[in-house]
C-alpha cells in the first residue's frame, strides 16, 4: 500500500469524495478494523457489517460541517469509532435497531469520542495548567513553541540547545503527569468508559 500522510490535503480530498483517496482510506483502515473485529465477533459477516458501520460513521463525521479539525488524529479517531461501534454491538443495541436509524445519535464527533472529553473544558484546562506549572520555565517555553507556535521541531531543538530525544521525553513526562492527575482516584478503565460511552462489563 502506498503510504500517504494524513494531512489537511488528504482530509480535504476525503471530504470532497475523491475516489482514489477514499479507496486508500478504506484499504488502509479496513484491514485494521477487520483484524480487530474478527477476533471479537462471532462471524465474518458481523465483522464486515461492523466495519461498514465504522466507515459510515467516520465518513459522516469527515463530511460534516464541523468535520475533523486535526487530520493527524484520523487514525485514533477511527479506532475510537470502531470501539464505539463494537461496544454497541456488545450491548445488543445494534441488533435491536437498524444501524441507519441509530446513526444520528451515535455518530461521535472527534471531541466527544475523546475518552478525556468528559472532563474537557475547565477541569482539563486546570489539570494541564497544574502540569505546566510543575515544569521548569525552559520546558514550558519549549512546549509553547512546540504546541502553540507549532514551530519546526529542529528549530526548537537548535534554539533551546536540546535534541529530539529531549522533546519526546518532555512530552512523555507531561503526558504522564496529566494522566496521573486525571486518573487520580479514578481507575484507568473508568476513565475510558466515561468518554467512550457506557462500556459493557466483560468487554474484551
Amino acid at each position: 500500500m502506498q503510504f500517504e500522510a494524513f494531512d489537511a490535503s488528504y482530509l480535504k480530498r476525503l471530504k470532497d469524495g475523491d475516489i482514489q483517496t477514499q479507496n486508500h482510506f478504506v484499504a488502509y483502515f479496513g484491514e485494521l478494523i477487520q483484524k480487530k473485529l474478527r477476533s471479537r465477533v462471532s462471524s465474518a459477516q458481523q465483522a464486515a457489517d461492523l466495519c461498514q458501520e465504522t466507515f459510515v460513521r467516520v465518513f459522516k463525521m469527515v463530511r460534516s460541517d464541523s468535520g475533523l479539525r486535526h487530520p493527524e488524529r484520523l487514525g485514533p479517531y477511527v479506532v475510537s469509532v470502531c470501539n464505539h461501534v463494537l461496544m454497541e454491538h456488545y450491548r445488543g443495541s445494534s441488533r435491536e435497531a437498524p444501524l441507519g436509524e441509530e446513526q444520528e445519535d451515535t455518530v461521535p464527533d472527534h471531541q466527544s469520542i475523546d475518552p478525556l472529553n468528559s472532563v474537557m473544558g475547565k477541569q482539563t484546562v486546570q489539570i494541564v495548567r497544574d502540569v505546566l506549572e510543575e515544569l521548569p520555565e525552559r520546558d514550558r517555553r519549549v512546549l509553547k513553541e512546540l504546541f502553540l507556535e507549532e514551530r519546526e521541531k529542529n528549530d526548537i531543538c537548535r534554539d533551546f540547545g536540546i535534541d529530539r530525544d529531549y522533546l519526546r521525553v518532555l512530552v512523555h513526562r507531561a503526558k504522564q503527569a496529566f494522566k496521573s492527575q486525571y486518573l487520580k482516584g479514578k481507575p484507568f478503565d473508568q476513565g475510558l468508559r466515561k468518554g467512550n460511552g457506557a462500556k459493557a462489563a466483560g468487554t474484551p
Binding site: F3, V125, V128, R141, V171, F188, D189
Partner: protein
C-alpha cells in the same frame, strides 16, 4: 508492534509528534486497535496538547529570543564596516604610537637603568634634621636617587619602615627594613613619583612585633634638586 515494543520505541510520543515513519505509523495504528492503554495514552496526549494551547496562549510565557537566520546578533553588529573601519583605524594609530614612541622610550629607560653606573649615595646622618645642616640631594629628572641612613635600632621594634614624604607631606615611597638589616647603615634607592624639587623628608618608623605599634624614630629632611 506489541505493547513492550511500543513502550521501547516511545511510539506514543513519536506518534503525537508525528515522528513515525509510514511503516511504523501503520504498525502502531494497528496496535492502537488492540491496545486500550496506548489508545488512552494517545488521547491523553492530544488532550494535553489542546489544553496546553489554551493555557499557554493565555499565559504570559516569556519566549526566549530565538536566533533568527539572517538577523545578525547585536554583538556581531560591531563587526559591521561602519563600526569596524574607524575602530581599526584607531587601533592602528594606538599600536603605531606604542611602537614608535612608547615602547622605544621604555626600552631606553630600561637600558639606562640596566647600564653600569656610579652611585653617589647621600648619607643622612643624625643631626641633619636641623635646617642648618640640611643635606641637598641632586637627582636627574625621572631617575632614582640613593640615600643611606643609620637607623637608631631599639629592642622593642622588630622591623622598621622608611617612608619618603614629599614637601606637601604626601607619601612618595616606602621601604621595609628588618631589625637585622637596621644594625648596619641602610642604603636605599628612592624614586620621587612627582619629580618635583623641594624639601623632602625620610621618616623611619619602628614597628612592634605584633605589628600594631608604629612609632617614628627618625626624621631626616633633605633638599631635593632635580636636574634635566
Amino acid at each position: 508492534m506489541d505493547h513492550p515494543e511500543a513502550i521501547r520505541l516511545m511510539a506514543v510520543e513519536k506518534y503525537l509528534l508525528n515522528e513515525l515513519s509510514p511503516e511504523l505509523r501503520r504498525s502502531f495504528e494497528e496496535h492502537l486497535f488492540e491496545c486500550k492503554e496506548c489508545e488512552f495514552d494517545v488521547q491523553a496526549g492530544y488532550a494535553l496538547i489542546d489544553g496546553s494551547k489554551e493555557v499557554l496562549a493565555s499565559t504570559a510565557v516569556e519566549v526566549p529570543k530565538a536566533v533568527v537566520p539572517g538577523k545578525p546578533n547585536q554583538w556581531l553588529s560591531w563587526f559591521r564596516p561602519a563600526f569596524a573601519a574607524p575602530v581599526m583605524a584607531l587601533l592602528v594609530a594606538v599600536v603605531g604610537y606604542q611602537n614608535l614612541v612608547t615602547v622605544p622610550g621604555l626600552k631606553n629607560e630600561v637600558a639606562v637603568a640596566q647600564a653600569p653606573q656610579i652611585l653617589n649615595p647621600v648619607y643622612l646622618t643624625a643631626g641633619t634634621s636641623r635646617s642648618e645642616n640640611q643635606v641637598t640631594v641632586t637627582a636627574k629628572r625621572g631617575r632614582p636617587f640613593t640615600l643611606t641612613v643609620d637607623i637608631p635600632a631599639e629592642s622593642r621594634f622588630t622591623s622598621y619602615v622608611c617612608e619618603l614624604q614629599s614637601p606637601s607631606g604626601e607619601l612618595e615611597g616606602s621601604l621595609a627594613v628588618s631589625a637585622e638589616a637596621a644594625k648596619n647603615s641602610v642604603s636605599m634607592s628612592m624614586y620621587p613619583k612627582h619629580g618635583k624639587p623641594g624639601t623632602y623628608q625620610l621618616v623611619v618608623f619602628g614597628v612592634s612585633q605584633d605589628g600594631t605599634q608604629k612609632v617614628a624614630v627618625e626624621r631626616q629632611p633633605f633638599e631635593l634638586q632635580i636636574q634635566d
